[in-house]
């Protein structure tokens, strides 16, 4: 079952098309990453999904509710960590009071509020700081507190807009671990906006790339990586001068690109399953002594740059 499903979701501000007919599906229990450069439409998408904004065209079903027709039900079943979440707390209120306020607004029964707050603050390692004004907590702790607020009412979907932006590497790692624990422990479906590619690659099992309001690519993270990169680029280390290997590669009609990189031959092969063994045979037949023939792993960053730059071109 898809926890988030958008159908031609569009948002136009004046002359600007912020989100342009996007179709996305996020299955239950997954950690989904929406990648894109600044101004690509990521935050607008999240604001549409949590009904802060009303779509110009199209719609989305979030936790089984239509964002156009059932905004209250959508808000009841989603949690939001807005962009710069650590700055969206009431700074003069204590950590506990910040959560208590939202617990009441989410309609959590009074008798359940203290227990729920304690559970989450302990889970996030903030219980000892519960009486401190939110404004006096470190950025990392504020971000964790904002994350507590986002999942306070046990939402089925949590929308996190740049959850680790402005955090130091250790705090960012802690937040990533917390997201994964929350997905495991509470079965929450996460929809994460980010331009931190390494982060998305680490924690998201599904990903989409958005630019200029359009989805350029969407699917399972590994599938996308393999679709676009893995298996196509090979690094070949040879004994002696690699220039002979380079000329062999350049002569093969199935090689799209061949170059030398630090005495290693780097080749981009079309239809690698059929052709990489042919390339190997050609090299051996021409007397090239192969030390290593390895596939080059393409990172999500490579994919992202290829897709986004490609889109701009």
């Amino acid at each position: 079952m898809d926890r988030v499903k958008t159908e031609g979701l569009t948002k136009i501000f004046g002359d600007i098309i912020a989100v342009n007919k996007i179709d996305l599906a996020v299955p239950e229990g997954s950690v989904f990453g929406l990648l894109g450069p600044n101004g690509a439409g990521k935050s607008t998408t999240v604001r549409l999904l949590c009904t802060l904004l009303r779509p110009t065209e199209g719609t989305a079903i979030v936790s089984g509710h239509d964002i156009r027709d059932e905004p209250l039900a959508v808000r009841q079943t989603t949690g939001l960590l807005p962009e710069e979440g650590s700055h969206t707390l009431y700074p003069r209120m204590s950590a506990y009071r910040n959560l208590e306020y939202f617990a009441k607004l989410y309609g959590i029964p009074d008798k359940d509020i203290p227990g729920r707050i304690e559970e989450l603050l302990r889970f996030m390692g903030l219980w000892e700081r519960r009486d401190d004004p939110a404004g006096e907590l470190s950025t990392g702790n504020r971000q964790r507190l904002a994350l507590c607020r986002a999942i306070l009412h046990s939402p089925t979907v949590a929308l996190l807009d740049e959850p680790t932006a402005s955090l130091d590497p250790i705090a960012a790692k802690r937040v990533r671990e917390l997201i994964l624990s929350l997905a495991r422990e509470y079965g929450i479906t996460f929809f994460i906006n980010s331009h931190n590619l390494a982060e998305v690659q680490r924690i998201c099992d599904r990903v989409a790339i958005i630019d200029h309001g359009k989805i350029l690519l969407a699917g399972e993270t590994e599938e996308i990586r393999s679709q676009l990169g893995t298996g196509r680029v090979f690094r070949v280390r040879v004994v002696g001068d690699p220039s002979a290997a380079l000329s062999v590669a350049e002569s093969a009609e199935f090689v799209e690109e061949a170059r030398l990189d630090d005495n290693t031959l780097v080749v981009k092969v079309r239809d690698p399953e059929a052709n990489n063994s042919r390339l190997m045979m050609m090299l051996i037949e021409r007397g090239v002594r192969i030390l290593e023939f390895a596939q080059e792993e393409m990172s999500l960053e490579d994919v992202y740059l290829a897709v986004v730059d490609g889109g701009e071109d």
């Binding site: 039900a73 807005p82 700074p91 306020y101 607004l105 309609g107």
Partner: protein, 250 residues
């Protein structure tokens, strides 16, 4: 549930507003100033004009409506400050998005924000009137003067009916403009324009319109203007309350 959520917002907003130093001091200052102005004006008259003189009655009919109007004016000023803080302040502090992402209806949100200003202002009006009334009465009694009951009936009408109506007008105007301004002070300057309505019962006695019929007439005119302003502003505030506009400006 609806009433509870609005009340939760109102109480929290009020607590938050009181934690902001400028709001707290303004509120305390204005709260104290209203009764002080009323007391000083009336007691000043009692001390300077002999109670037996023919001018005493005239002066009393001048300062009684002015005192009531001043008391009302001072008590409604914080409404603008609190509601500007509660609406535009949320956006300025970046706390608006999480609030709007909760399952609150527009009505609950508007009511909560309105109550956070209306409750303290009505309390200020009542407490300011009570304090002024007791102090003035005791002063006259202990000084062997004819007892003065402040406020008089038109004054009571001004304080307990017109004052809260002006508060509602201010809050409604603040809601109306909250999606169109970016800063608290901009909202405060615009929204509190409704306070000007209360200048009518202050100015009217000072130009000689002190007979009871004139006082009532101007109080009723003030009430009518405030009521129309409150009704129109409230209608448009609710009708055109626009989450899109509020969030798009974040």
């Amino acid at each position: 549930m609806s009433r509870n959520k609005s009340l939760v917002i109102a109480i929290t907003d009020l607590r938050m507003a009181m934690k902001a130093r400028y709001v707290r001091y303004s509120l305390i200052g204005v709260a104290a100033l209203g009764p002080v102005v009323a007391i000083v004006t009336i007691i000043g008259l009692l001390m300077t004009v002999p109670a037996t003189s023919s001018e005493f009655g005239q002066m009393l009919s001048l300062v009684m409506p002015m005192g009531s109007a001043m008391l009302s004016l001072m008590a409604v000023i914080p409404a603008g400050l609190i509601s500007a803080n509660a609406l535009v302040g949320e956006r300025e502090q970046n706390t608006l998005e999480p609030l709007l992402a909760t399952p609150l209806t527009d009505r609950e949100l508007i009511l909560g924000k309105a109550l956070s200003s209306i409750i303290p202002c009505v309390l200020l009006l009542i407490s300011g009137t009570a304090v002024s009334s007791v102090v003035i009465y005791l002063f006259t009694v202990f000084n062997g003067l004819p007892p003065v009951l402040f406020p008089d009936l038109p004054g009571l009408f001004l304080i307990l009916v017109v004052g809260p109506t002006v508060v509602v007008a201010i809050v409604a105007m603040m809601i109306l403009i909250s999606g169109r301004v970016s800063r608290v002070y901009e909202a405060y300057q615009t929204g509190t324009a409704a306070v000007a309505v209360l200048l009518v019962p202050i100015v009217a006695p000072s130009i000689g319109l002190t007979d009871p019929r004139s006082v009532w007439l101007f109080d009723l005119i003030t009430f009518a203007v405030a009521l129309v302003l409150a009704a129109v502003a409230w209608y448009f505030a609710v009708r055109f309350f626009n989450r899109d506009a509020m969030v798009s400006r974040v």
